[in-house]
């Protein structure tokens, strides 16, 4: 049914045997872990999330595993097909260097790092049975063809804008095809009941993340933004079952809610927007928190925005499930791959209001064209409304940490 034409130019999958690079990758992760350990006053459940995230590649494989390369692909479909979903985006700067063997220089660092991790025989992608690569941006679109050398890949198109009248049917149809693909991989097509059960589980996660965000908006000091990201990414980037994550996350929510600030918090609050910040690429978060800023809320697809929106199921049919998933995952995304950024701008302005933030910081990944070009409008709109704005254009490498620090310090001094 969903037969993709076989590629007449398929190549043997490339693997890397660079021990120096492997050491560097391990060092980058260890360095980031060390910095996490320096965070004061962490809730008791955090070590579970750190372990789950860091040891994702070593998780035992109980069921078929399908790797995803974006937040736009709904994990519920994979779960309903009886597979474990796991996101394969990588944030390791050394992996980006490894990836440069295949993708020459001026390409998105996320794409390079992802390829870099695919090139490891002991990496997480090597344990996956299939890959889902939504064609969000140019890099992901072309990456799909490269990754097809490593395993079966399913790519699906995203509508060009958020006009639901024109595109909601197409988006739901693409998700149907996705479900058929997942069913072929696992041998178990997603049924209505299985989808609804998966949706109930992810809605529970969405509720937890929402409560965490609300608690942090009230007291940003209750949980470091890095710990929040670790917690959220531990559910997205690890193939372990979501149920265990939910149990621990509920404890975390209680701990965070119970936090009372010792004294009135005078640190500057900022809203973070921009490109995904993926473990272990927490460079910007490190510097922000070390300079004393409190990241009160974020719109990142690797942070709260990744799973804060629930799936709204008002009808019982299978078609309704796909439409609801399309509404949440595709049309609810704040990704710059859509032609209009109005919804992302609205969310930033709304969060600034809600958190009474002192300014907005954008993490613009160097060589990411959509974010670069969107900066034009974001900057001017924020300026019109007199909201201080700082744009950080940087890639994965850690060499410009001090340069970032100067800019962030100057920004915090002036807001």
């Amino acid at each position: 049914m969903n037969r993709q034409p076989t590629n007449p130019y398929a190549l043997r999958p490339a693997f890397s045997d660079n021990p120096g690079n492997r050491r560097k990758q391990a060092f980058v992760e260890a360095d980031q872990r060390r910095r996490l350990d320096e965070i004061p006053q962490r809730p008791a459940d955090i070590p579970y999330f750190v372990e789950r995230l860091v040891n994702a590649a070593a998780a035992p494989k109980r069921r078929p595993r399908i790797g995803l390369l974006c937040n736009v692909a709904p994990v519920e479909i994979v779960m309903a097909a009886g597979a474990d979903p796991v996101r394969l985006d990588c944030g390791n700067s050394a992996a980006a260097v490894a990836g440069e063997e295949m993708l020459a220089g001026d390409v998105c660092p996320l794409a390079k790092a992802t390829i870099g991790v695919f090139m490891r025989e002991d990496g997480l992608p090597a344990t996956c049975d299939a890959f889902i690569v939504p064609a969000t941006c140019d890099a992901k679109r072309k990456l799909g063809e490269i990754l097809a050398d490593y395993g079966p890949v399913f790519q699906f198109a995203l509508p060009v804008d958020k006009d639901t009248v024109r595109h909601s049917a197409e988006a739901a149809a693409e998700l149907r095809h996705l479900a058929a693909f997942a069913g072929k991989v696992t041998g178990r097509a997603p049924t209505r009941k299985a989808l609804r059960a998966a949706i109930a589980l992810t809605n529970h996660r969405s509720d937890i993340v929402h409560r965490l965000q609300e608690a942090r908006i009230a007291h940003p000091g209750a949980l470091s933004i890095r710990d929040l990201f670790v917690c959220i990414q531990a559910s997205l980037f690890s193939p372990e079952p979501l149920e265990t994550w939910v149990a621990h996350a509920e404890n975390l929510v209680h701990a965070v809610k119970a936090f009372t600030a010792e004294r009135r918090n005078l640190r500057r609050r900022v809203v973070l927007t921009g490109a995904p910040i993926i473990w272990p690429n927490f460079k910007v978060l490190n510097v922000l928190e070390e300079c004393g800023a409190l990241v009160a809320a974020d719109t990142l697809c690797s942070g709260a925005q990744a799973c804060i929106d629930p799936v709204v199921l008002a009808e019982t049919s299978l078609d309704a499930c796909f439409r609801a998933l399309a509404a949440r995952s595709v049309f609810g995304a704040l990704c710059p791959c859509f032609s209009s950024q109005a919804t992302r701008l609205s969310r930033v302005l709304d969060l600034v209001e809600k958190t009474r933030a002192d300014g907005v910081v954008q993490y613009a990944l160097r060589l990411c064209q959509p974010f670069d070009i969107e900066n034009y409008r974001l900057e001017r709109v924020l300026k019109e409304r007199r909201i201080p704005f700082l744009n950080l254009r940087t890639d994965y490498s850690l060499e410009d940490t001090e340069q970032l620090r100067v800019r962030i310090e100057a920004f915090l001094e002036t807001v």
Binding site: D400, Q403, V406, R407, E409, A410, E413, T414
Partner: protein, 264 residues
């Protein structure tokens, strides 16, 4: 209260002693191996030069790339804020300074100052040598001229040419090829200055070029560059009396402000 501002930069360190509105002394020293040593050196230099005792200094603020590595000091402030504070204090005959262009040895900053004297926006070029003082130093060496002679040569040029290279490393090879074609050293020097002036002009335009525009930092002492920047921006720029120590002055002002706050 007597306050001191230390600007520990990449090539030189600067210090300023301030007593309220009165400037007591200023010093510029080339850097030692470690920032802490440079800080000590420049601080001692300014104290000696002004005759003020160490204990008489109420508060010390450090700024610049080595601000946290000085080993002493009461407050730390970024050079962007210090730049704005210094520019607001110094002012210009034509009116308040609203844009500051700071051309340093290893970085270039443009700071836009708002009506209330605060930093409205800023841009930094600190990842790439093109557009910094280092660019000119490298090309001067390539032409086998000391920096002063390099600048004088640029001023004497009569036949402007254009350099294509935007990268300092590529510029070096381009200079070699220009020499091979028997282009005058003066014209090459002028072209190098023009290349920087264009980059700087673009940076100032991005941040906003509200008058009065002030040109500070080590690079402001370069008259050829100043002239070309004016031409690129199509506006006159103001070079304060002591452009190299403006940032240190700002730090000294900040030290006074912070000490007053802490006293409350």
């Amino acid at each position: 209260m007597i306050t001191a501002g230390l600007d520990i930069g990449s090539t030189t360190s600067k210090a300023v002693l301030l007593d309220g509105d009165r400037l007591l002394g200023a010093a510029v020293v080339p850097n030692a191996a470690l920032p802490s040593a440079s800080a000590r050196l420049v601080f001692d230099a300014v104290l000696d030069g002004s005759g003020v005792a160490r204990g008489a200094v109420g508060a010390v603020a450090t700024t610049g790339y080595g601000r946290r590595l000085a080993g002493f000091g009461d407050f730390v402030i970024t050079e962007i804020k210090a730049c704005a504070l210094g520019a607001v204090r110094v002012g210009s005959p034509r009116g308040p300074i609203r844009t500051v262009l700071d051309l340093g040895g290893q970085d270039t900053k443009v700071v836009a100052i708002g009506e209330s004297g605060g930093v409205e926006d800023f841009a930094m070029n600190d990842k790439c040598a093109a557009g910094t003082g280092r660019f000119l130093e490298m090309l001067a060496r390539k032409l086998d001229l000391p920096l002063e002679a390099f600048i004088a040569a640029a001023l004497r040029s009569r036949n402007p040419i254009h350099m294509n290279a935007t990268c300092a490393v590529f510029a070096e090879s381009e200079v070699v090829s220009l020499l091979a074609r028997n282009i005058d050293k003066e014209d090459i020097a002028a072209a190098a200055h023009q290349a920087i002036a264009d980059r700087i002009g673009a940076m100032v335009r991005r941040v906003g070029q509200q008058e009065v525009i002030a040109f500070v930092g080590g690079g402001a002492l370069n008259r050829a560059l100043a002239a070309m920047v004016e031409e690129s921006l199509n506006k006159k720029v103001h070079i304060p009396e002591s452009p190299q120590t403006l940032v240190a002055l700002g730090a000294a002002i900040a030290a006074g402000g912070r000490a007053a706050e802490a006293a409350l």
